[in-house]
């Protein structure tokens, strides 16, 4: 239902938007296909491609919102969000500290570590593998909607309860991936360790953990975004009056959608940076994995 009949863009407008989209798309495709000899140019290109893609998305978003006259309370245009963002920096900063630094990071570390340790325990001790793993799976889908209020009850309103929620959310992906990863070492490579009469610990540290790293990093990546979502959503269920989740739920109620999206933008930037750092570390640690040795051509 279009309640706002004020600005009804014609077909030419939409055709123009489509053509613009197509043009940028083709240009970007060509750009990313470009092979350059100089590594500097290549790096520049690698940055430019997603940036252009993103700018295109934002541009389209802006055009569609303004073109259709979509009301602010449904979807604000990027320009509105930007305006809100730069005028609310202190609030955003306080929210970021509360949610990201106090809840997401510790929760991500503890949860991933816990999943990893349980995986190791299960691996080291067959009894646990059969007894604990099925129970570990029970943690798989503890719904945040149910857990968050309980955690608030147990750990109070502040960030501690958010950390607990994040721990619960990130535990399982790591458990599953670590268990799978620990099985990933090849048979011959294991035989080699056996032939050395290597201890369990040696085999673990020198063979099975390195071989498990691609899986473990997958879990860390998945967890990085889960932790962010978890911490934000957990704040819907009780919080001191600061934090990204608090702000989002409150502003949704107030229909301050520009502020909601400003927070989302902060979350997206922080989350992407977080993910990016993990991906960089991954590349450094699992440089040997075939996915980083793919042939240049083809």
């Amino acid at each position: 239902m279009a309640h706002q009949a004020a600005l009804k863009p014609g077909a030419t407008f939409w055709l123009g938007v489509l053509v613009l989209w197509a043009l940028i798309w083709i240009g970007n495709d060509a750009l990313s296909g470009l092979s350059t000899a100089s590594p500097v140019a290549a790096r520049l290109r690698n940055l430019a491609v997603p940036a252009i893609f993103g700018v295109t998305l934002l541009l389209l978003w802006q055009l569609v919102v303004k073109g259709f006259g979509i009301p602010l309370v449904l979807l604000p245009a990027p320009s509105d969000i930007w305006a809100k963002l730069i005028t609310s920096l202190p609030t955003l900063k306080a929210d970021f500290i509360q949610t990201f630094l106090r809840a997401v990071l510790p929760g991500w570390i503890i949860g991933s570590l816990a999943g990893f340790l349980v995986a190791i325990l299960c691996d080291a001790w067959g009894f646990l593998k059969r007894g604990l793993l099925p129970l570990g799976n029970l943690f798989a889908a503890l719904p945040i909607v149910g857990v968050a209020p309980i955690m608030v009850m147990w750990f109070g309103f502040d960030w501690q309860s958010k950390v607990a929620v994040v721990v619960i959310m990130t535990f399982f992906p790591m458990l599953v991936n670590a268990v799978t990863g620990l099985q990933a070492a090849g048979a011959l490579e294991r035989d080699l360790m056996r032939s050395y009469g290597a201890s369990y610990l040696d085999t673990l540290l020198k063979l099975r953990l390195p071989a498990a790293m691609p899986f473990i990093f997958n879990a860390l990546k998945i967890n990085s975004t889960l932790a962010l979502i978890g911490a934000i959503v957990a704040e819907f269920f009780g919080t001191p009056i600061v934090g990204m989740g608090f702000r989002i739920s409150t502003e949704v109620g107030r229909l301050g959608l520009d502020m909601v999206w400003a927070e989302i933008a902060v979350a997206a930037i922080a989350g992407s940076a977080f993910y990016g750092v993990i991906a960089l570390v991954e590349r450094a640690v699992t440089f040997w994995h075939p996915s980083y040795r793919a042939r240049k051509g083809s």
Partner: protein, 302 residues
């Protein structure tokens, strides 16, 4: 270990003969004991005045701590009683039955999981093959996952509702949105994991991209796929539950949790939580079962 299990082909019947029953029982027993013990200090705020009123003593402490109407941590039997009452006493198609709500949630979970898996795999395939996509799409997929779904879910529901999409699909879409990501991450890695030599072999055959995908990348990615699917199906369940809230929370585990929480029915929350956990571990087990089957068919060592 004296409990060493003999290796056998995985089968439904075999799962019980596997020797995991005993370890699980033992660990469950340990958990229950710890749970009962933990309930005493955790409920202290609420129980202390009552215990004092009843005259103190160990007997009173235990009986009161384990039977509070709105405990911080209900005792296991309180949860079990609630489960019994809502699962076995009520007809499964009545809104009072937990089974009814499980089914509501399960249906959108499964649909969301299937959609999410398809989307996740599709994106991964696209990313692995099209350079422009891997550079431009991946950062935005990541960004998309940092959007707190609960914040935009209402808008999504509103928008979908205005184009006539209601019922199962909106919830499933939220579930899909949350669960495609682990699949994408896992498969981007998995599809890129064949040995360079194995890829070279395909090159010498001048195999088409589709052939390389289907005959090499896909089988090589399966360990990654299954690890991802286990995570994804669990997240799909969380997504389905979360998705029930902005659709008016009328039925399903999520509605149950929300209302239980809203009306302070602690046992009901815990029963719903247990139901969700059992459901998810069942689903994860199912994926694991299929994984073992597939591994065997693909010549995996037992």
């Amino acid at each position: 270990m004296t409990l060493a299990a003999t290796r056998s082909r995985p089968s439904l019947a075999g799962a019980f003969a596997h020797g995991s029953t005993l370890p699980v029982t033992i660990i469950v027993l340990i958990v229950i004991v710890v749970w009962y013990l933990a309930a005493i200090p955790m409920n202290r705020v609420l129980s202390e005045p009552l215990i004092a009123a009843a005259g103190g003593g160990l007997g009173n402490t235990l009986s009161i701590s384990w039977s509070l109407p709105r405990p911080v941590l209900p005792a296991p039997h309180q949860v079990l009683i609630e489960l019994w009452n809502t699962v076995f006493i009520v007809a499964p198609w009545r809104p009072k039955s937990l089974l009814y709500h499980c089914w509501v949630t399960l249906s959108s979970t499964l649909l969301g999981f299937i959609l999410g898996t398809l989307l996740g795999v599709g994106l991964a395939i696209a990313i692995v093959h099209v350079k422009a996509l891997s550079r431009s799409l991946m950062p935005w997929i990541i960004a998309s996952q940092t959007i707190p779904i609960l914040a935009i879910a209402p808008m999504v529901i509103v928008v979908l509702g205005s184009i006539g999409l209601t019922g199962l699909l909106p919830k499933s879409l939220i579930s899909m949105y949350l669960c495609f990501f682990p699949v994408t991450i896992g498969m981007v890695k998995g599809l890129a994991s064949p040995d360079p030599m194995q890829l070279d072999l395909m090159r010498t055959y001048n195999a088409s991209t589709a052939q390389v995908l289907w005959k090499l990348r896909w089988p090589a990615a399966l360990p990654f796929l299954f690890a991802s699917l286990k995570v994804a199906i669990a997240i799909a369940l969380v997504g389905a539950i979360v998705g029930e809230l902005p659709t008016g929370a009328q039925a399903g585990i999520g509605a149950r949790l929300l209302n239980g929480s809203y009306y302070g029915q602690t046992q009901q929350i815990w029963a719903a939580l247990v139901a969700a956990a059992v459901m998810s571990s069942g689903l994860v087990w199912l994926v694991g079962f299929i994984e073992r089957r597939v591994a065997l068919a693909m010549g995996g060592r037992p």
